[in-house]
Symmetry: D2
Subunit: 386 residues, 4 copies
């Protein structure tokens, strides 16, 4: 076993903060076999000021402005990729080729072709790999998986998931990178459907075929100030939104279950409304991230007259991950999904045990996402992975 | 067994409507041994117009404007008292003395002395008697009682109840009869605390001692138009509010449980918020009338990691009263508590079986209410029934 | 204006009970211009015993065992059709041809062809017509429509509805008429999706195109005792389930909104889980029949920092239909949707005003349902009404 | 302004962990004028192993086993007291006398006498002081205070709070320090009622008089292993529980509002159920810590027909403290109340601005708690502070 796991993080935005916090705190809460070292953080030269502040703030030993330098440094064991989607492949592959373990934000890639290259790269390099589908680490979600594995809802008939947000509903919200296809790849689809597709695969199984529809409600938006130049008045120049605002799709799983998926950024009032409901022959599980400490469970095996939806407050020591944190009823939050996943990542690398979800999962996820986009274009059912 | 049960209803206000609906429909939903006959409805001469309309509308065979006439009619088997509180005793006693069965709205009386006279009257006359504490007939509440009887929450530690309404919060709301002591007896106390005290006795047991406090937030209100006379401008003349707006009390039950009670008409936004929570050694039951089809149940006997508050939608055929109504998930409403209680009343009289809650319960209830008022005055703990 | 409206009801099952209750009580709660008369109830000769009991119980003046007799009786003004789906057309058309007004249970017909004939029949006869999509009369749902009409959620982006039940999940549940195509037409689709499709049209507008999928999870079930004959052991003989257990579909509305629909009888724990959420540019509305007295409303126009989902307890006098019933917070139930719709029906016929939803709506609804079934078969997007 | 704020923490239990996490992370999330230094952590010599691990884990520069050493160290600016209740006074006074700023866990003291000494000590020393009533820093709670200050619920009529836990319901749960009067002072009262009393003072105002009741449901419990000695069989020897399991009290506030309080460790299923509801003339606010990111708000000023309880998800940048954390809908947890309070503490000391709640608040709180205990003993209403 290595004595420590030195991390080099690429990215200094929202995800850079979430990952920095995870690396700082994971060893405090979890009893890890080795400690992660916060070696260096990396971003583009134009972000150097923000980068320096983030490095200082979170306690990174240093920072660099060229990921190529980072991935080849001797003192780095894991390259953690938390950049916009269009750079995941390039950085991850470079890291793998430099012999580094890689953990990459979701969605893994811009498309299946990229994802395949990435998977091949980590396999050939023999390095460990993981994708930050962080919601698997919500204790209530991991508990849902445990209950399914124990057979508590039996054969699954229905998976029904929505991921609803509303942060771009104002037509004057600017054309940020997440709304430009060349950077984000897709809109709500890769951002939100990627997550619920991962949960579907985690909780139900592989998806066989899909049919979908896509819509962009606001087709033009103001360019961002930096894109326009300093002299431009805010909102004066507009650009085309080149990604979807929402994608919905129906699915058939390999095991016979049927699925309904919907990701949107136009769900007024839903701030991070990632929700699923799974109906099986023996019961139902339901979850809403906005009440992330709770899992709803209905069991048809409860005595007649005593059946009902039970709200399990997933904060007991026996619930997944919770022993590390606080006493029952003392809730955890969004950031702890990263803290817990970082712990799993450290343990997996240190002990050579399974890392899930990995790039294989990232590829399978991408295959579903791409099939849906193809279905939207061709207005037809599409087999996943073909 | 008698062949029918002819009812004479006294009262043509809100409760008159609720009772009329119950008498009309109870035999449609429930399979009754005998049918209730809607013989006559009675109110004061000054209400004759409203009375005639109510009689015609709900299908009463006739109406009278003197309760003394009603209670002595040969063709009446049951006198149903749904008048303001200060007339309960007079009418009920007259009915009993005329040999009629009596069902009386809650609170049974203005005070313990009246309640005792009423109980004595029905006992001496050998007639059947019941009090309309209708919330015992909410299926979810009756289910709570069943679960307690089955030992599912074990020994009870806590009873905690509130009955919150907000209909008189506007200081310009007029001085209706419910706000005048000589008619209503008390305010929120007799109106709302009477109900939760009944539920406490039904679900937990007898109350041993109490300490309470009372408050009237709005001390003067506009007189009602009819009280002022036709020439008065609305709101011009004001009168003293002589009842409480809220009464809170703590209690010790004979079985060692502790209790907290609160009735108020100043619970902004709570329209009919009758709520209780009961914590026992094995679990908890919780109820809120504003979601009256639901009972919350937590069992400490559920497997570890699977414990949680279960929302039982009490609409299954096996749940109390529900076989009479609609399929699961097809909710019932407020009025059905009266329809169900009327069915129990008819069956109890026809078959000579127990009628609960009866005047004995009404008296016990009154003893608690009076002890609380005495405690408010004397600022001391008061033994119930002394 | 006619002096009364005499009703002949066809059907003595679950819907027969719901309609009988509505006709008995609608005039008690609502101030109607004319009173409905409960003239006769009708069912098949083999159901005569049940029919007689139902007639006596609910106060129908008489009963007949041949609908042809009913529809031609001089003393009947309205034929109310509450029979299995495969008889709606025949009875409704006969009634119309006899010059009777017709109200018919949903779905209007077995298919578009039948629905067109029915619409043509009532139009040619010049009689009034209505379809019992009763959920439009839930006060919270009618309130949702009012808020939309007032522009409170602005342009609509998303309609998302599920109608989840679980009453046939047991594989030993028998092959009742609702599971046989020749009687029910379809399964969850015509039963449940018919309702949410009606709500979609009521609340959002016309649907332009759809793509759907269908599944039958349990493909064989025990025949019902009467179908098997008296000597057969329960469950011994099995028959093919010829309808869907679930149908899901995506939709594009004419106004640009996107929709997601799902009806299933395999939603474990959902008893009558008819739910919708509508996201518009200014806000969101959400509803779940299992809490039918509540409407959720989020407004993006609320002050910043004070936005949130508001639970409107739709029991105020100003809320649709509620003035007829009880004070605020005193809930109503499932049956009141029929009581209220009956009141609208009586008023509409008496005063010659609009009746909605009518057979035109029934036909439009059927066009959507048929397009979905065609889409399931052809695995393609289908234009509605082509 | 000082250049840094060096902290010495006393205590290495549950609160030691909560405080360590706060000191580590507060400067990462909040933009602080100076950084807190994690100088030393302190506990009793017998806990040295646990102490060393905690120091290493959370990054304390060192540890000491004598608080007297800690409080006199030159390099310590703030002594943070997170020990059992019976040592708060001794340590805080010593720290003040050594010229250190002091932050102390709640309840401030064992009784009013101690609290007065402590307040006097910090005043005489001229040092800054704060009490860790951490729930004031729940964003939803701070938002409640803001809405009250803005007059949104108007004059307050009712404060109603419960703090329900269930961790000692098993009669075999051992006699830990919190159940022994000489260490804990009281049971649920000082532990739980202290918090809701603080919230009452924070949100409503000063309490004038109280009447209470106390109960210990389980009167004997197994001694803890260490107390019994190594040879004792677990559960063999039992000791007296010398504190309350529950205390309930009624209160009258100086501003005329009435209050109801209840703390219990026998609320089966309630893990950290700290709940309050405040009814004012214009509206209501309600909170439950088990859904700590949510505040319920009802406004009587909303348009008629659109009134209802609004669930404000208090995770917007404009909500108290939230700008420091994550985007809307990305929940925070229990620990963030300490992280936020630590930030306020650092800022207050650095900038010389108000620190709330301070020892004055701690004393006022203690006066209420003591008055309640006296009321329980004397079975009478007791004036607070007399």
């Amino acid at each position: 076993m290595p004595e420590e796991l030195n991390v080099g993080l690429v990215g200094c935005g929202f995800m850079g903060k979430a990952h920095s916090n995870a690396w700082l705190n994971t060893g405090k809460f979890f009893n890890l076999p080795i400690q992660p070292g916060m070696k260096a953080i990396c971003a583009l030269p134009e972000d150097e000021d923000a980068l320096r502040r983030m490095a200082e703030n979170w306690g990174w030993e240093g920072y660099v402005t060229d990921y190529k330098e980072l991935v080849t440094r001797e003192d780095i064991d894991l390259v953690d990729v938390a950049t916009p989607n269009n750079t995941h492949a390039e950085i991850s592959i470079a890291a793998a080729e430099a012999g580094k373990n890689v953990s990459c934000e979701k969605p893994l890639a811009m498309n299946v072709a990229e994802a395949k290259e990435m998977l091949q790269a980590v396999k050939e390099a023999g390095v460990r790999h993981m994708v930050w589908f962080n919601y698997r680490r919500v204790p209530a979600v991991a508990l849902a998986r445990r209950l399914i594995d124990e057979g508590r809802i039996g054969k699954i008939y229905h998976f029904r998931a929505q991921y609803l947000q509303d942060w771009i509903m104002d037509p004057e919200f600017p054309l940020v990178w997440r709304l430009r296809k060349e950077v984000g790849g897709s809109g709500a689809h890769g951002d939100l459907n990627a997550h619920i597709t991962d949960l579907a695969r985690y909780l139900v199984g592989e998806i066989d075929e899909v049919v979908g529809m896509s819509e962009t409600f606001i087709k033009e938006r103001p360019l961002e100030a930096e894109a326009v130049g300093l002299t431009a008045t805010a909102g004066e120049k507009r650009g085309q939104v080149t990604v979807d605002d929402t994608v919905l799709f129906l699915a058939r799983f390999e095991n016979g279950a049927v699925g309904s998926f919907e990701g949107t950024r136009f769900g007024a009032g839903r701030k991070n409304g990632e929700r699923f409901e799974i109906n099986g022959e023996k019961g139902t599980l339901a979850f809403d991230f906005e009440r992330m400490n709770e899992l709803e469970f209905f069991s048809r095996e409860d005595p007649e007259g005593l059946q009902g939806f039970k709200t399990i407050l997933a904060t007991e020591p026996g619930h997944p991950y919770m022993e590390a944190y606080w006493p029952p009823g003392h809730l955890i939050g969004y950031e702890h999904t990263f803290v817990s996943q970082a712990a799993d990542l450290v343990k997996g690398i240190a002990e050579g045990t399974e890392l899930k979800p990995d790039f294989e999962d990232g590829l399978r996820n991408q295959e579903v996402l791409d099939a849906v986009l193809k279905s939207c274009e061709e207005r037809a059912w599409i087999k996943v992975g073909e």
